[in-house]
């Protein structure tokens, strides 16, 4: 009985010691959104549709991403390039390209399937929206802007990405 009282008290003291120890340690919580942690290069978040250097879209509207997608959340409707309206090299481009991010599980199969490396999962993970419709992102939102060779992933910083997968500041 006495032994039990003794060992119980020791345990309590030990626990309180741990608490006390942590009390003086610096906090681990990041003050998101003021304080942001850089993500790893191969982090997979919102998709981007890439372009070639000359500005033509890489996507050829082949629907292979949609076929690979386990949640069936990509819609591609293809159309034919004409001389007046050339969007991609070759004959075919995606006229409609939509991803339903509510269904996407960010598995990256789409990027894996893409024969032209047009669809790539990048680092924008801030995907909350005010309504469900906005969670379906369209081609306009997905396509990377034309000239620049960088992508904006934070409000306050620009991450230049000369080569895919290699992140510099």
């Amino acid at each position: 009985m006495l032994r039990e009282v003794w060992s119980g008290s020791i345990e309590i003291l030990r626990a309180m010691w741990i608490t006390l120890k942590h009390f003086f340690r610096p906090p681990v919580t990041n003050q998101y959104p003021d304080d942001r942690v850089p993500v790893y290069p191969r982090f997979r978040a919102r998709h981007v549709l890439k372009r070639y250097e000359n500005g033509l879209e890489r996507c050829i509207g082949c629907s292979l991403c949609a076929a690979a997608c386990p949640t069936d959340c990509i819609l591609v409707i293809a159309a034919e390039n004409t001389e007046e309206n050339r969007r991609s090299p070759g004959e075919r481009y995606a006229e409609v390209y939509e991803i339903n991010l509510l269904r996407c599980i960010f598995c990256g199969y789409c990027a894996e399937a893409c024969p032209t490396e047009a669809i790539v999962l990048e680092h924008d993970f801030e995907l909350s929206t005010h309504n469900r419709w906005d969670a379906i992102i369209t081609q306009e939102e997905l396509l990377e802007p034309h000239e620049p060779d960088y992508i904006l992933i934070r409000d306050d910083q620009v991450w230049v990405e000369p080569k895919w997968g290699h992140l510099t500041k």
Binding site: I60, G61, C62, S63, L64, A66, A67, A78, A79, E80, G90, E91, R92, P115, T116
Partner: protein
């Protein structure tokens, strides 16, 4: 005669002459092929099908196989692998398809085929259902040893006409397309030009790839070299939902697959049915589907209020119709109501339509014979139609065809393919018509009569057959009544006399009649250009056709070409369900199943002429170019579009199109076939049968039909002809072994079931039925003299409500014109494209002239059913001919 051989250790017993590929298929071994196609002559061009073959060593002295020490036959192997697609089997043959050598051969062939293949599968319409892709996966090398940069480049997007795009880089030169065009379509417009590395597919015709069957080459092309402009980039093969359907453009009833994506038809492909369309459809059926998604579809009920058509709810519209009908019946009796249904409606709708008028309203005023349907009044087929089990794809040498008054290539394209194919396989083909048609190229006897004398020609032929005693079948005299009377009547119609009237030389008549009478099996196809000859306005146009129909019936009856498969008559009716409309009694004087009505009602012309006060029109446009009779108080129209009839209606009820609903059609050969729904209905449109059912219920009938199948079940009970038919039976998939394999018939259409319809038996198949040989005097031959004969032939790409919307057919849609012979053009002093004025019956119209080598002298042709309906306005309802004056201007 059968032959037994061994393929990979499995014993196969197959008919003599079978090719090794086919024999292998029968024991479940698939030999990969590219150029081989079971419908085409083998050529052995691609070498994909190489196998090792050996034959038993035969002792020349005894004719016995030599045996080795174990008592097994000694096999002598061919020193080189052989092409399984060109070699036919022989007794004791041993074939090896699973050895390492064969695998190496296949791999090498594929590596060669891919040396210059662009491998742009991601953007290729064939990707996902491509034999080259699949066979490379199975048998090909993973990598190529050839230099990527030295690939051969050529045109990627070469337009072969408006409908087909050729990618020359993808072409593997299997020649399936060129062989299809020359062997099956009989339009040899494609060819391979140059040799070796520069060989390429070209079209020599003008306009480019001028064929009604061009779309089929995209199906059989084993790669994505030929793709259809219509489907181009619309979907990947795996994104499509494939629904078994039927073509609704002509009476052949081709089985199709609707491949839909996102509620729209992405493409239409043939569905294999060996007894109807084999694996083909024509371009009208393939590309003429755009009306389904037209923005002009009716989507809401419309009621005329104060002269304007305004949208209304279904309840209001149906209530309105019911109350107006009730008050008109109360005031003027049931016979003041009438109904006209189009022959494009499915069987169930037609059945309910006539039942509604007959049982709910209480009148026999019901008809479908407007427009081209008015030419036909067909109960010939009821009595002596082709026997059940007829398969035009399998007839050959012992069969004779007589095609009279029909341009099959324009009127029933797939029937044309099948008849021309039979002729290619040795059947005797006799064509008779007022002008040459495409079928004449294949025919053994082509008889050119003066328009309006088709019946006389047949009487001449009957005369010869009776004279030569070619009545063949011994049983004929016991089965028919009136043989002696007929003998007496045709005695006057010796070929010499007939020749004077028809202009066909007597010996040609004799030769053709003998060829027909001497055959073992005989089939007569008759079409609109033999019918409808009447003098001016008296009588209905179908009465004018009766002598010809009777002559046709007499011809097959007395030759004994009745009641058996591959014998009898096929009427080349105009619409998808013309046969069903006749079967189901959508005529004033017959109940369903060809039972005469006791008290015939008014026919379409009488109803339109003011015989009724209220008219229900479903799926027909009888008032095109006609104004409403004053007596007509109330017009209800069920339609897809705001047709000319609908524009004059008091209530318009929007109907669902074929692709949006299910039902059955009966085709020319009396196959009842089922189609499934594939598209969402636009707006509030409803299937016609539900509209009719709801009206019936509002008028107090206790109709409780819940499904189309329920209506068919009632028809199967009530109509002896349709006995035993059931909706389930009609959707039974055909056994897998009868399908062509995927590599041969490329395309995913096999995801949609292959089904077979059910065929109702003609009266003659009942051996105890007595057949009548009636006599009808032939019409007076058309008067000679000045003026021309105006003919209104049917053309495939007309400007009708449905096809006029297929922009893709663009320049192929026939524009209104007057076709005439060059001699007449010279005499009138007109050149191609100049104006010409035609006048008849106090009407006249001006159209551009088109000098056409196929139009005989003294005849002008204005195709039917064009935009503005010029021919119909001159000829009047359902007429095909008239005497006209033609002047320049």
């Amino acid at each position: 005669m059968t032959v037994t051989l061994t393929i990979d250790g499995r014993q196969a017993t197959v008919p003599k002459g079978t090719l090794i590929v086919e024999a292998a298929k029968q024991v479940g071994i698939e030999i990969p092929v590219f150029c081989y196609h079971p419908k085409l002559e083998p050529v052995g061009m691609c070498r994909m099908c190489l196998v090792t073959v050996g034959t038993p060593l035969v002792n020349r002295a005894t004719g016995q196989s030599q045996l080795d020490a174990d008592g097994l036959p000694i096999i002598r192997w061919f020193p080189k692998p052989q092409t399984a697609c060109t070699m036919s089997v022989s007794e004791g043959m041993v074939v090896i398809t699973d050895s390492q050598e064969v695998a190496a051969d296949r791999k090498a062939i594929l590596e060669f085929l891919l040396t210059s293949h662009p491998l742009d599968c991601p953007v290729c319409d064939k990707g996902g259902e491509c034999p080259l892709q699949d066979l490379t996966y199975r048998h090909g090398p993973g990598v190529s040893r050839f230099d990527y940069d030295s690939k051969h480049h050529s045109a990627k997007r070469y337009p072969l006409g408006d409908l087909i795009v050729l990618d020359r880089e993808r072409c593997i030169l299997c020649a399936r397309c060129t062989r299809f065009q020359s062997e099956i379509a009989q339009d040899p417009v494609l060819a391979i030009e140059n040799r070796g590395r520069d060989a390429r597919i070209v079209s020599y015709s003008n306009p480019v790839f001028d064929s009604h069957y061009s779309g089929n080459t995209t199906d059989i092309c084993p790669v994505g070299a030929l793709t259809s402009r219509d489907f181009r980039f619309h979907a990947r093969a795996w994104e499509l939902t494939n629904i078994p359907s039927l073509c609704n453009h002509c009476g052949v009833g081709c089985n199709t697959v609707l491949s839909t994506r996102r509620g729209q038809i992405a493409r239409i492909m043939p569905r294999q049915n060996e007894t109807v369309n084999e694996v083909w459809i024509c371009d009208k059926g393939r590309f003429g589907h755009h009306f389904n998604s037209s923005p002009y579809r009716l989507t809401m009920p419309l009621i005329r209020r104060d002269g304007e058509l305004v949208e209304a709810s279904w309840d209001d519209a149906l209530q309105h119709v019911a109350s107006r009908l009730t008050s008109i019946i109360e005031a003027h009796g049931s016979d003041s109501i009438g109904g006209i249904a189009g022959a494009c409606l499915p069987n169930e709708d037609l059945y309910l339509f006539q039942k509604f008028l007959r049982e709910v309203i209480g009148t026999h005023n019901v008809d479908h014979r407007v427009g081209l349907s008015a030419t036909f009044e067909d109960d010939t087929v009821y009595a002596v139609g082709v026997g059940t089990g007829t398969d035009l794809g399998r007839v050959g040498r012992d069969t004779a065809f007589l095609v009279i008054g029909s341009d099959l290539d324009q009127e029933a394209p797939i029937l044309y393919l099948r008849v021309a194919g039979a002729a290619r396989h040795g059947a005797t083909l006799i064509t008779a018509g007022g002008r040459p048609t495409k079928l004449d190229k294949q025919s053994n006897h082509s008889l050119r009569y003066r328009y309006g004398t088709a019946t006389h020609l047949l009487l001449g032929m009957i005369h010869v057959i009776l004279e030569a005693n070619l009545t063949g079948n011994e049983t004929v005299p016991h089965r028919v009544n009136g043989l002696n009377e007929l003998r007496a009547n045709v005695a006057d119609w010796a070929p010499e006399r007939v020749a004077e009237i028809t202009g066909v030389p007597p010996d040609e008549i004799r030769a053709a009649a003998r060829a027909f009478g001497e055959a073992k099996n005989g089939i007569v196809l008759y079409g609109p250009e033999g019918l409808g000859w009447g003098n001016g306005t008296q009588g209905t146009s179908w009465e004018a056709g009766s002598p010809l129909r009777q002559a046709v019936a007499n011809l097959v009856t007395l030759t004994g070409f009745i009641g058996r498969p591959n014998n009898g008559v096929i009427a080349v009716l105009p619409h998808a369900n013309s046969r069903g409309a006749a079967d189901l009694g959508v005529v004033p004087d017959r109940l369903p199943g060809y039972v005469p009505a006791e008290r015939p009602g008014l026919n379409a012309q009488e109803m339109l002429g003011g015989g009724v006060r209220a008219l229900l029109v479903a799926g027909a446009d009888p008032l095109a170019g006609v104004t409403l009779a004053d007596e007509l108080e109330f017009l209800v129209v069920q339609e897809l579009f705001l047709t000319q009839t609908a524009q004059q209606a008091d209530v318009i009820l929007p109907a669902a199109a074929l692709a949006e609903r299910d039902g059955t059609f009966t085709n020319l050969e009396r196959w009842v076939q089922r189609f499934d729904p594939g598209l969402p209905v636009p707006g509030q449109a409803r299937p016609d049968w539900t509209i009719i059912r709801q009206l019936a219920v509002l008028l107090g009938a206790d109709w409780a039909y819940a499904t189309v199948g329920g209506v068919l079940a009632e028809m199967a009970q009530a109509i002896p002809l349709y006995r035993g038919m059931s909706y389930e039976q009609l959707s039974q998939p055909v056994s897998l072994s009868r399908r062509m394999s995927h590599y041969i018939y490329a395309g995913m259409s096999f995801q949609a079931e292959m089904r077979e319809g059910m065929q109702w038996p003609a009266l003659a198949e009942d051996g105890s039925a007595k057949l009548e040989l009636d006599w009808l005097d032939p019409p007076a031959p058309p008067a000679e003299g000045d003026g021309f004969t105006l003919v209104a032939p049917r053309v495939l790409y007309d400007g009708g409500t449905l096809l006029g919307q297929a922009e893709i057919l663009g320049t192929r849609l026939v524009q209104p014109h007057i076709a005439l012979s060059s001699a007449d053009a010279a005499a009138l002093g007109v050149l191609d494209g100049q104006g010409l004025q035609v006048s008849a019956n106090g009407q006249s119209i001006s159209l551009p002239a088109r000098v056409d080598g196929l139009v005989p002298q003294g005849v002008v042709a204005i195709p039917r059913n064009l935009k503005g309906a010029p021919a119909e306005s001159l000829l009047g309802e359902g007429r095909i001919f008239s005497r006209v004056k033609v002047v320049k201007g």
